[in-house]
């Protein structure tokens, strides 16, 4: 299938999600369940997208594993986004010379 078709569907759905409530809806969401669901969803999705994909992200599970642990430890100490990400890559790159 053409990549352009994929991109069109991607962009179309994403725009509709943004525009429909922003332009049309005026009511406030009252349901505690829905509010909780929408609050947790980004974390759940990011986690499900990260694991196990991160272990295959460098083409070598050992370097990826070292990078993953590096990222988790640095994120635990609340380092900036970019520092965590670059350190994970640097760790994976460094270990790449040993395996």
């Amino acid at each position: 299938m053409s990549v352009a078709v994929y991109i069109a569907v991607m962009a179309g759905v994403t725009y509709l999600i943004r525009v429909i409530p922003f332009a049309m809806v005026r009511k406030k969401i009252k349901s505690e369940f829905i509010k909780s669901l929408l609050y947790y969803m980004p974390y759940a999705i990011l986690s499900a997208m990260t694991f196990p994909a991160i272990f295959y992200s460098t083409g070598n599970t050992v370097t990826a594993g070292v990078g993953t642990v590096t990222a988790i430890v640095l994120a635990y100490f609340d380092l900036p986004l970019i520092a965590v990400a670059i350190s994970a890559a640097a760790a994976a790159f460094g270990v790449g010379f040993l395996v």
Binding site: V25, F33, M41, P42, A44
Partner: protein
């Protein structure tokens, strides 16, 4: 004059967002090229979607040759939060924010622009929101282009390591709140374990649907076990 100054103040308050986007989209650009897309395709995706997780999910599906239904479902699921943000923003718009302006500005509803606009002191004017979107989207598209170009010229050993960057950023987003809130910790751990288990025991399920299933089950479980109350939100 007034319109111009509103636009400018939007641009100025959006500069940190634009700089942040530059680095995240750099990682996206590399990831997209590694998944077999061209720089041009990566840039068009960033220009038309303006969202990180949704684009990564989308590129995964393109790379795996998934169905369009899967693409639509994944985008819906990953980006659903923008509906809530749009809903929230719609409550605090200036009267000059007419329907055509709403249709245009909806393009730029992202986590960070929502944060900027929802903490804005006065009702949001269209020019202000356009300013924030302009600078944020410039950073997003520019970073994608630089990342994709770098992905095409850097040696494979370097780009292979850089493949982990976007996931490192995701980890930096969901680990700190997991340390602070046991509810988020629960949601993050269960989504990760479910996702790993699905890959091992049901490898025939595509990546996109796996993200939907795991994301939905663990956020429903979180909402049932740890419902958010109004006090916690503030």
């Amino acid at each position: 004059m007034k319109v111009k100054s509103n636009f400018l103040s939007g641009v100025i308050s959006g500069i940190p967002v634009g700089l942040g986007y530059l680095s995240v989209s750099f990682a996206f650009g590399i990831m997209a090229v590694r998944s077999g897309l061209t720089s041009f395709q990566a840039v068009i995706i960033s220009l038309t979607n303006l969202t990180s997780a949704g684009q990564v999910g989308g590129v995964d599906i393109i790379a795996a040759g998934g169905s369009l239904l899967e693409m639509a479902a994944v985008q819906f699921m990953i980006n659903l939060r923008y509906s809530l943000m749009g809903l929230s923003l719609s409550q605090n718009l200036d009267s000059s924010f007419t329907l055509p302006h709403r249709l245009a500005a909806a393009y730029g509803i992202t986590d960070e622009i929502f944060a900027l606009c929802s903490t804005h002191k006065e009702p949001i004017k269209p020019a202000y929101m356009y300013g924030t979107i302009f600078i944020a989207a410039s950073g997003w598209v520019g970073g994608t282009l630089i990342g994709a170009a770098a992905g095409e010229v850097l040696p494979p050993s370097v780009t292979a390591s850089l493949g982990i960057v976007i996931y490192g950023m995701f980890i930096a987003i969901f680990i700190p709140p997991s340390v602070k809130h046991k509810s988020i910790f629960f949601v993050v751990i269960s989504a990760a374990l479910l996702s790993i288990a699905l890959r091992i025991f049901l490898p025939s399920i595509s990546v996109g649907f796996s993200v939907i299933i795991c994301g939905l089950i663990s956020s429903v479980a979180g909402a049932v076990i740890f419902p958010k109350t109004e006090e916690e939100e503030s």
